[in-house]
Amino acid sequence: MKQWFCSVPVLALLLWAGPGYGQQANDVYQVLRDGDGAAQFAPVVPGYTLDFPQDHGPHPDFRIEWWYLTANLEGANGQHYGVHFTLFRQALFAQQQGLEHASPWASGQSWMAHAAISQGDKHLYEERFARGGIGQAGVQSQPVFDAWLDDWQWLGDGPSPLPGQLTLSIQGQPLTLQLSSNKPWVLHGEQGFSQKSEQGQASYYYSQPSINIVGQWQPRTGDSVALTGQGWLDREWSSQPLAENQSGWDWFSLQLADGHKLMAFRLRHSDTEQHYYSGSWITPEHKVTPLNSDDIQLTPTGFDVIDTAQGEKRIPTGWQLSLPTLKRQWQIKARSANAWLDTLFPYWEGPVQVFDNKQAVGVGYLEMTGY
């Protein structure tokens, strides 16, 4: 049995990565760059007008898509809790017309979900896989928004994910979150067309950076904890989001105490120090100022060495983020270095604090891949 199980992650990986993957087993993220494979899927082009609630649902013609929630919460016990939940969709092969009706098994879609909670230096997470088509996992926006994999579920009250309820269990420990927002959706880039490289790699990308959350966490031992706080939902889909020379990214979502929000990321180039920067400066009213490489400066200021399944890794857990055009500058610090997920696609994802001259001025989430 052991052999079976050992092999399974490999299989899941291959299902996720698509055919011909075997040769590049050393970088699971290759699927995000694979230009040849992308050709059979729909391209991401500027000028598309996002349409809600329709676009809350899946876009099966595109190769990859995600629903990504991060949250900084405070427990009734006074402790800080970081939560993230993602549902990834990947098309293994372009759907043959008509075949999906022949058999539910004929779907080319596959699903992967991660859920994690961190508190202090503790970090719990779980990863799941499912094939599409048979109803074990999926997303729909009609009649109500519903995104699920096994018994993990985000159920909207209406066609929109917000307001809605997220029901999870992380290693058997239940977590429920009530999510709502009274702010408009934020479209990144050019009306949701978010460029990822000079060569034209791009995705459709929108967010809800102001989500009010109340929830309940039931750890395996001890009393259940009531949670309240702020969340951030990212929605993104693409067929080839990364360029060949992009080895990973550092992505920030910050919620400042003055009501401003900031999304900023850099895509690191393996062949040059000239990385690709992009972001959005969001006012409390959700007015968006797109930011580009001239507007953003990101400098790692502190590192931690952490143990991963692939060996020790040196991860930047302290940053200096400057927006020179807006004359703003912050220091960003991970609440704990222990936020590595040894999942099929390994990455670091954890809550951060934002400082302005040693003054705590906000919270946020940091995601780092490719280390």
Partner: protein, 826 residues
């Protein structure tokens, strides 16, 4: 210590100077150990596989969730997953047959669903030996089917080829690869299997490791949301161990026989090696080596040889087991549904056992001559002993032992009630025969020489007496091999005959249909339908064993002609006795029930129903207990009973294409039915596969006996070479030499063959009459066949001729040298 070391080295120098003796000694050890260990490895491997049956693919679950009709709706599975039962995963298991009616099993599951969440960073990194591309092939069009290499060879099927099924459907391109626990089955991704084979339902759900609280929740959930689904805890490991016990004892017994035959070679070789070193042993004594040191040196030599023999034998046995495994795996899978891994492991205890076995065998060969020597003084050892007289003494001793053994066997026969006892009797019979043989041969030669004309003929029979000594172990080995072959040939022949007759009666209908959707009534409109018989049934446990209940129509033609072993009511249209029940023979022989006995069967509601045993029917090949009741009664007592297929009798002129057309119109799908011819073919094919292993071991045993004979002849001629030189000097021609040596040998072997016929018949009788009943619960008449005996005679003749030719050639080569030595020696 020093003298022990140098004595040992001096003794060992013999093997360096006589490579052919060394070769045969080792060959005997190696073949014996190889055959024994091959079967042992397979047996141990099979048992280990049963123990794992609850952890692995089809039986991986501690539990199974099944629908009574064998079809679980996909929606029920998804609902279970969405209710948080992530231990549950779907399985599609299909029985398929190839164009030429080769039975196949396909297993498919959703590997994505099986992938447990990897939550712990310490979890092992996956290091699959599988070509990674093969994995992705499975799930993406055009998909792939994994075929174990041995199965692919037997089909035959090349990588990349598509296998066409009997109903014309095609499987995806084959990949010759397999995973642990796949056994002799095809493996596919469940999605790919469902699409290619048009399956809309799942066969069952497997439940992985689950804690008691979750199990309770699962039961509650099933009760509330899917009451038609039943959870069953997996008792397969237990069942398999019990069901297959007899088969493994069989295999073990056969391997021990092979080992015994191998030991005869060793026996011969060791004795001969000791004999040809008699002067060296005495010289060492003269040089002041004590008798004790010398004995120790010889025993040490024995251990050395057994160590080398065991090591090489195990290596050969491991290789052999790889060759034999597919046959055994096929048997186990077809007979018991047990899945054997394709990867074998050598366990340390096998190593130790094999070494002990060979050591004991070698010591047995050494003890007698050493004891004899130790009784002699050093001087006496130089003086020749009357070999002939000694030989006659041991012949008499062996014959007396044989008589005693036979007497014990005969006396204990009436108390025969266990398999172990049965095999002990078999062994006693075989060895009594073997021990009797030299005395018989000697008497025969004696009589011939008494009655022969003086001259060459008389000399010839006298020469036979001389050769008989060294030839003895080889003759006994040959007798064992012949007897075992003849006995098993008769057993298999009888069984095949009985099975064939039984199948002809039992599979009486022309077409068998197994379909959920079939509307049987719709078929009644056709003129070509003469009769039909619908059955229902279920599976339960009775007396701790899996048991099948079948409901049938007592007036159906096949029930009217049901082959009965015994019954208490008149067959043929008679009303079914009130609380009567028919049981298969297995119930009589394995559960020890008699006609008229009262039995109780568990009902679904937890109650017990009383029945009286009204008859026993033959049921070959069924490892389970089975009971027959009228259809209505089964439906009434067990509401969860499910249709078990429909048998159709067709008009002689019925056009099969038309019939199939009608079946499709009535709701069946291609592949849902099988015609009589195909089912008969299928059954006999399964039978032949089952006995493939037996045949393989027998052939090998025969080969070993042939080697023993060759070794003995070479030894005899080497020993007799100076005599042959004398004869030559006296003017004996080459032709006369051939006559002098070949005729008595031919006589001895003919005698061996003749003796093997009654012995083999007795063996077959014991196997069929007692051992088979004790192990499987099947009875059948013994069909005595002469053909195997004649074939074996030819085979024996061939083996002997080859061995003799090789030995004679050697004599021809060495004779000139021996002649030269004639003058030089004493």
């Amino acid at each position: 210590m020093r003298s022990l070391l140098w004595s040992w080295l001096t003794l060992l120098s013999h093997y360096r100077r006589h490579p052919s003796q060394t070769l045969f000694l080792l060959l005997g050890l190696i073949t014996g150990v190889a055959l024994w260990s091959a079967v042992h490895i397979i047996n141990a491997h099979a048992r280990a596989s049963y123990a794992e049956a609850d952890q692995l693919l089809d039986a991986q679950a501690s539990h199974w969730i099944q629908a009574p009709n064998g079809r679980v709706a996909l929606s029920d599975y998804v609902a279970l997953r969405r209710a948080g039962f992530r231990q549950v995963y779907p399985v599609l298991e299909l029985r398929l047959s190839t164009l030429d009616n080769q039975p196949l099993t396909l297993i498919a599951t959703d590997l994505m669903a099986m992938s447990a969440s990897r939550t712990s960073p310490t979890q092992e990194q996956s290091n699959s030996r599988v070509d990674m591309r093969a994995w992705s092939q499975l799930s993406q069009p055009p998909y792939a089917v994994w075929v174990p290499a041995s199965l692919a060879n037997s089909l035959p099927l090349q990588a990349g080829q598509r296998l066409t099924l009997r109903d014309g459907r095609q499987l995806p391109p084959a990949v010759t690869d397999s995973q642990p626990r796949q056994g002799q089955r095809l493996f596919m991704d469940i999605g790919a299997a469902a699409i290619t084979l048009g399956e809309t339902h799942l066969s069952y759900l497997a439940v992985g490791a689950i804690d008691p609280a979750e199990l309770k929740r699962l039961d509650q959930w099933l009760n509330q949301y899917a009451p038609q689904l039943k959870r069953r805890s997996n008792q397969q490991p237990l069942d398999l161990t019990e069901l297959t016990a007899s088969l493994h004892i069989h295999l073990n017994a056969m391997s021990l026989l092979a080992f015994a035959v191998g030991l005869f070679i060793v026996f011969n070789a060791v004795r001969f090696a000791l004999h040809s070193r008699a002067s060296t042993l005495t010289t060492l004594r003269e040089l002041g080596v004590s008798a004790r040191t010398l004995t120790s040196a010889i025993v040490l030599e024995g251990f050395t040889l057994s160590l080398i023999g065991t090591a090489l034998g195990l290596a050969a046995g491991f290789g052999l087991s790889q060759l034999l495994l597919p046959a055994v795996a096929a048997t186990l899978q077809h007979l018991y549904g047990a899945v054997l891994d394709q990867r074998l492991l050598l366990q340390p205890q096998v190593l130790l056992q094999a070494w002990l076995l060979t050591s004991v065998g070698l010591l047995m060969a050494l003890v007698w001559p050493l004891w004899q020597r130790s009784r002699q003084g050093v001087l006496a050892q130089r003086q020749g002993v009357d070999v002939l007289q000694q030989e006659q003494r041991s012949q008499r001793r062996l014959a007396i032992s044989a008589a005693v053994l036979l007497a014990i066997a005969l006396l204990s026969y009436p108390w025969l009630n266990s398999l172990a006892h049965g095999f002990a009797l078999l062994a006693a019979l075989l060895f009594a025969g073997a021990w009797l043989l030299p005395w018989l041969a000697s008497q025969c030669l004696h009589w011939l020489s008494q009655n022969a004309k003086p001259g060459l003929a008389q000399w010839c029979w006298a020469e036979g007496q001389v050769q008989l000594g060294p030839l003895r172990p080889a003759l006994m080995a040959m007798l064992l091999a012949l007897t075992a072959n003849f006995g098993v040939d008769n057993l298999v022949g009888s069984f095949r005959q009985a099975l064939d007759n039984w199948l002809q009666q039992r599979i009486a209908a022309d077409v068998y249909v197994q379909s959920e959707q079939l509307d049987a009534h719709q078929l009644s409109q056709y003129a070509w339908l003469l009769d039909s018989h619908e059955r229902n049934g279920l599976r339960l446990r009775w007396q701790g064993r899996p048991t099948l209940i079948r409901g049938l129509d007592p007036s159906a033609p096949d029930v009217q002609q049901l082959p009965m072993a015994s019954q208490s009511y008149p067959q043929g249209g008679a009303a079914w006795p009130d609380d009567g029940i028919l049981a298969n023979e297995q119930v009589q022989h394995l559960a020890g029930k008699q006609l008229g006995d009262v039995i109780y069967l568990p009902l679904g509601n937890g109650e017990q129903q009383r029945f009286t045993l009204a008859g026993f029917y033959y049921d070959y090949g069924n490892p389970y207990f089975q009971f027959y009741l009228p259809y209505q009664r089964v439906a009434q007592l067990w509401p969860n009973a499910q249709p078990q297929g429909l048998a159709l009798w067709l008009d002689e002129d019925a056009n099969m294409t038309e019939v199939e057309q009608a079946l499709v119109e009535a709701g069946a799908q291609p592949g849902d039915w099988i015609d009589r011819r195909a089912i008969l073919q299928l059954s006999l094919r399964i039978f032949d596969r089952t006995f493939a292993m037996t045949a393989a071991i027998n052939t090998l045993t025969f080969a070993v006996a042939g080697i023993a004979l060759l070794a003995a002849l070479l030894a005899i001629h080497q020993q007799r070479l100076p005599h042959y030189a004398h004869w030559r000097a006296m003017g004996v021609s080459w032709r006369e030499w051939l006559q002098l040596t070949a005729v008595p040998l031919a006589l001895c072997l003919m005698l061996t063959w003749v003796l093997s016929i009654p012995l083999g018949s007795a063996l077959a009788w014991l196997l069929i009459h007692d051992i088979n009943v004790l192990s499987f619960g099947w009875t059948m008449p013994l069909q005595w066949q002469g053909r195997p005996a004649l074939l074996l005679a030819l085979l024996c003749l061939g083996v002997t001729a080859i061995a003799f030719a090789i030995a004679a050639l050697q004599v021809r080569q060495r004779l000139p040298y021996a002649l030269k030595q004639l003058g030089a020696d004493e």
